[in-house]
């Protein structure tokens, strides 16, 4: 009965595509995405839940992929940064706003920022500046100083456009 190698077979969808794999029990979701699926858009910084770079969406909820086991993603729908643009490569409005507002420099934090803000803006489509700052308070960026990221998020939400009209 006991499984000596401590592995499980899992089936899930990643960015809409079905995936099946045999994973070691101790493998976390971030490593699974990067190593087994070569989806290296998800970045691993601290691997203890502090930096937010590894954030992905699981069933639409933004979560830390370093704090979830791959085996726990069984039967779930995982969305990574690779899954945010349309199939033809057209950027999402948020990604477009990031480009427009220079919301990335080295890009290390960007996948976590984009996945976090994608989930956040879906649930709160017209946020205040403060709410955006709070939403990314768990994502560390060492380059931008955050201002352009907040600006991009507000622009994507259409808040910026309304502001400029006034």
């Amino acid at each position: 009965m006991e499984n000596p190698r401590h592995t499980h077979r899992i089936a899930l969808t990643v960015n809409g595509a079905p995936v099946e794999a045999e994973v070691e029990d101790r493998l976390h979701l971030g490593d699974f995405l990067r190593r087994e699926l070569s989806l290296t858009g998800t970045h691993l910084g601290c691997e203890h839940g502090v930096c937010g770079a590894c954030t992905v969406m699981v069933d639409g909820q933004a979560v830390r992929s370093c704090l979830m086991l791959a085996v726990q993603a069984r039967g779930r729908a995982v969305t990574t940064v690779e899954g945010l643009a349309a199939d033809d490569g057209t950027l999402s409005p948020l990604q477009e706003a990031f480009r427009e507002h220079h919301a990335l420099q080295c890009g290390f934090c960007t996948p976590g920022m984009l996945t976090s803000l994608t989930a956040f803006l879906r649930d709160n489509p017209a946020p205040t500046d403060r709410e955006v700052r709070e939403a990314i308070s768990g994502n560390i960026c060492r380059c931008t100083g955050y201002q352009p990221i907040v600006a991009a998020a507000l622009a994507a939400a259409g808040a910026k456009a309304a502001e400029e009209e006034n």
Binding site: R26, D31, E47, G49, V63, M68, L69, R133, S137
Partner: protein, 288 residues
Amino acid sequence: MKPAPFAYHDPSTVDELMGLLAERENARLLAGGQSLMPMLNMRYAMPDHLIDLNGIGDLAGVAETGEAVEIGAMTRQRDLPGSRPAAGRFPILAEALAHVGHFQTRNRGTVGGSLCHLDPSAELPCVAAATDAVLVVRGQDGEREVAMADWPTAYMTPNLAADEALVRIRLPRSAALDGQAFAEFARRHGDFAIVGVAAMLSLDGDTIRRASLAVAGVGPQPVRLAEIEAALAGEQANEATFKAASGEARGIEAMSDAYVSGKYRRRLTGVLVERALAKAAERAREAA
């Protein structure tokens, strides 16, 4: 691959869980994973068996009985502010939860996980102390109940045997005072609090009928300020009273660590007690 090897188990019922706990040595329970996963990744924790509670549907959700609000141990932190019975009776839960990590960690983090991890600065154990929470533990021979005051047995150690599991948290309705407030100070939003204070007040007109005060971050476990609560009863709910309580609260015993001195924590406790009491009084008046 950061964690040391372990065997993963995912029971779907509490009975199955109890069976696993009875048979397996050196097992750890995995709730939301927002504290245990870092400990596994850093190999602070090296269990031989990891028992995932996420598949046990019975452990999640909030129910209200005549006397109490019962919160399943696996209820996600994100789901509590929207829960009518929980946040309706105990709005302090929602206010405290806004300080617990970040929305991405609250999406996984659970109420029971936080109460079993017992970080000294954690908000939920502090609220549990202020609200006279009772922790319901399932063991091999059925359930037993532990008052929050007896729940921490040592630094980050719950009153839980190796073959037991926390199944739910009961908040007595009688503990829900009219005005409730949670105040804390942390260096950055979502960081561990340096000090956090839970305050609740019931008023008769302007007179304090009952007060409840608990402090997180000063010692290994949340501290109820019973003497100050008793002194507050019968006093006028005004600035002078809250200032006096704040002065008393500054006398609290507080630990020092590499970042923050005990002296600063004592001072902060005074400031936050005053703020939380004033807010609680304001809300008690609004509710009247």
